[in-house]
């Protein structure tokens, strides 16, 4: 089944990474990490490609991908926003933050925004209840005592960052 993805330059990058590994046994998780880094998520085509390259059954790849919450088969925004809905954050206004985000970004679930910049992911405790409500953008941009106003500022900072990057690209 041909897909657009087959022509994706990411496959070349991934193959280069895989070909650079000497002992391929036991490297599945590492390769999947790299693949997700390249593609942003792990669609069927990528998993199937990894299986073939590493000579592991597709079922095994799929098993690993579904086991670790880190891996995702759905595309995420460039900056996934983890919004804590654990008890403490919820009580401290987490649901209000979620409402604000959904309205601002115009998304209903965990799909990426139209421009691909953000996606919203409800999580069940990030382990910082004293700072509730908390938000985590990307892998390590952490914010505590977040208010709807502060949240919009955070979004803006990312938009600006992207805007500058795009300008740099143009010039």
């Amino acid at each position: 089944m041909p897909t657009i993805l087959e022509a994706d330059s990411g496959f070349k990058e991934l193959d280069k990474y895989i070909d650079g590994i000497k002992e391929k046994k036991g490297m599945l998780i590492g390769v999947l990490h790299k693949a997700q880094e390249i593609f942003g998520y792990l669609p069927v085509e990528v998993q199937s490609h990894v299986a073939e390259k590493l000579h592991v059954p597709e079922s095994t790849v799929y098993g690993v991908v579904t086991f670790y919450s880190f891996f995702t088969m759905k595309p995420r925004g460039k900056y996934p926003i983890k919004l804590c809905m654990g008890t403490a954050c919820y009580v401290k206004g987490g649901s209000k933050l979620l409402e604000t985000l959904r309205e601002e970004l115009e998304v209903k679930g965990d799909e990426p925004t139209k421009n691909g910049l953000f996606s919203i992911h409800e999580v069940r405790c990030l382990g910082a209840c004293s700072m509730a409500p908390v938000v985590l953008v990307g892998d390590n941009d952490f914010h505590g005592h977040v208010t709807p106003h502060k949240l919009l500022q955070i979004l803006d900072s990312y938009r600006q960052k992207e805007g500058k990057r795009n300008e740099n690209k143009k010039s």
Binding site: V44, S48, P57, S59, T60, G63, T66, F67
Partner: protein, 906 residues
Amino acid sequence: MLPNVNMVKIDIDGKAYMAPEGKNLLEFLLKNGFDIPHLCYHPSVESIGACRMCVVEVEGARNLQTSCTTVIRKELKIKTHTNRVEKSRKMNLSLMLSEHPNECMTCDMNGNCDLQDLAYKYFPSGEPTFGYSKRGIDLDDSSEFILRDLNKCIQCQLCVRVCNEVQGMSIYSMTNRGYKELPATPYELPLAETDCVNCGQCATICPVGAITEKPSIGKARWWETKKTKTTCAYCGVGCQLDVYADPKKNEIVRVTASEENPEVNDGVATCVKGKFGYEFVNHPDRLTNPLLRKKGKLVPVEWDEALDYTTKKMLDIKEKYGPNSIAFLSSARCTNEENYLLQKIARAVIGTNNVDHCARLCHASTVAGLARTFGSGAMTNNLLDILDSNVILLTGSNPTENHPVYGSRIKRAVRNGAKLVVADPRRIELVDYSVLWLRHLPGTDVALFNGILNVIIKEGLYDEEFVKNQTNSFEEVKSTVEKYTPEYVSRVTQVPAEDIVKAAKIYGGATNAVIIYAMGITQHVSGTNNVISLANLAMATGNIGRPGTGVNPLRGQGNVQGACDLGALPNVYTGYQKVTDEAIQRKFQKAWNVENLSPTNGLTVVEMMNAIIDGKIKALFVMGENPRMSDPDALHVEKALKKVELLVSMDIFPNDTNKFAHVVLAAASQYEKDGTITNTERRIQRVRQVINPIGNSKPDWIILQEISNRLGYNMNYSHPSEIMSEIATVTPIYSGISYERLEHTGLQWPCRSQEDPGTPILHAGKFAHIDGKGKFVPVEFAEPPELPDDEYPFYLSTGRILYHYHTGTMTRRVKEINDISPEVEIEINPSDAEKLEVKSGDIVKVTSRRGSISGKVKITRRSMERMVFIPFHYSEAAVNELTLAVLDPISKIPSFKVAAVKIEKV
């Protein structure tokens, strides 16, 4: 063959036991009658301790231990039924039931469900602690054969393990985490869209109703069925099956693998044909009465009339034209006892050696080639010891389709570290598992293997000691292969020279190397020489007579080995005793109480057809064969069948052969009679009657006996076991065989006395020749008799596919199998397809100098360029109308694997 096991003293519930050190504790407990509940344990796969029902208290351990993952060690002290243990079991069971629907009333596993039994045991009245619930997952009923209802899954992972470890397909994996964890196909695809080969082992092993056999659903409750252990007759592996039948309906409802014989089929393995290919038995097309041709039409008659007609006519023809005007085709689909009786009728009653069978078409060259070199023409080793091989040379064999259960075992050997070298013009599935693939041109096998031997000798990789002490004539072969340099062989075979060197180094450098081959080697004009070239390789490297070595032909049909063993061949009595040997003749004359057994060899299959056309054969008696479809140049065969004065066919179905018959005798299938068959590793195993013969059909041995009695030679066997007793008295290699000894595991011949445990490995220490030495035989490459040319530019190769069996009379009458594979697929290479301007699914006409057929194109890289592969299962596109009836001069095997054809788009 058992490795030494150290017995150690252990303590179970305060009593001392001697137990095998290092072995599985649960296995030991179960064997010794302890009632240990378990759901995720099966002896055929690795234990993982998932269900936690088999927990025991182990002295010194803080937590309860799962006995299925506990290894027996010295001074082990356990308690199996303490309060703590039982409480834990009950809790675990409650948790499983809390995610299991209470649907036993309509569940197909009702009555055979381990979970149901445990629920009944621990909660005999009332609800389990946390009740029941249903996950609400949709059924996967996409597969023709397998129904998956994951609502009933208990996460034991047996399906995952059996598909990984035994079948080697790895279709399932556990996915997600925690209570959501379930076995799934890749990306949750419907099973029918995966690479699943429908072996059904997941359904066999599933302890609950989560994976069940779709064709069995609603047929019968487990307790209404009768279980009979028998041997699968679909290929030479001889899988041991438990067949469940509903006696009220006289119908088979389910087949599972028997756990009793792991050495044959791993205690759980089946392929799609063995597991699901039984529906033909009750098919409405079955012959239920004998048929007699009256006014040009075959009409049902009483048995007496059919048999009287047959025997009177046979006696007339014998009287008029002499005994050699009658020929018999025996059958690799019939039992040893039936083959014995047929050749006995031919020899003792009619007085001719004109008896042959389809082994002529598959492994006659094996028998000839291995007899010349090793002194005995059969698989040297057994099916299990491939797991001891370091290197596997597989050539002219596609086991994952034709011997699927053994194909899986090859995959397992590769997973365990064996190196696989494949030499095959087709890119068979196992190429994916190989370290080296030699794609030689069809018909260039002798050149290839002589080339490999050339390198082995040049590089000093041959076993000098072995050659010197255990063989003769090495020097002759050495000088013959001298000119087969890698460069020369590369030109002939198209295999790169460096790959020939590589293959030689891998095979020649191995501690234990095994050769496995099948019809890609044998079905050539050079068939015998092909086999000899392989035997030379094995002898030169000393790879014979030990576990993990040998030369192993995989026999095609269920009882090809046995039909040969029992003398359904024109040159030998039972056990390969020559008809030309006077002493042997006298022995059989005495045993059969006759005079003047014919001292001359009879005719082979293809020669019989020619002799009919020449007017020398007037009567042909066919038992369970379909030469109009299975023999080469089938239109020529048809001519013969139309010409012969008397054509008698014993069969279970109308087929392309018996539509020309004068008498058709309705026979019973392999599920409707008792007997034995001998698998490819020379193992004689029991066939047992599961249901009554359909309609008025009769087991072949009974029909043969009645024929013999009418011909004036008295036979009075009340059961096939009595025939086997007689076989044992006249057949040295079977003399230790009796039904009592075959009851559980079968025996591998030679088995020369009641005490003889049989012979798993031939030629250990000495060969079967009189001087005990193997004989090197020099063989030269010769081009196949018909090669592609301008007019017929393609190589044609024929063979089988996974889903069908031979001429399709049985498998094409299994609805689900035929739904998967309803019509012929002509396999051609993508680049040829492009040149011919055909797409997959287009209809093409394939023509040889002898005939032409049409069928759908399948574009695949399995076929090499300028080569086309066509299976011979389909009577509407009978590929043997194209094949060439040129015979190997030594073994008289026809050349099914090479013919020249042209292909045209229709």
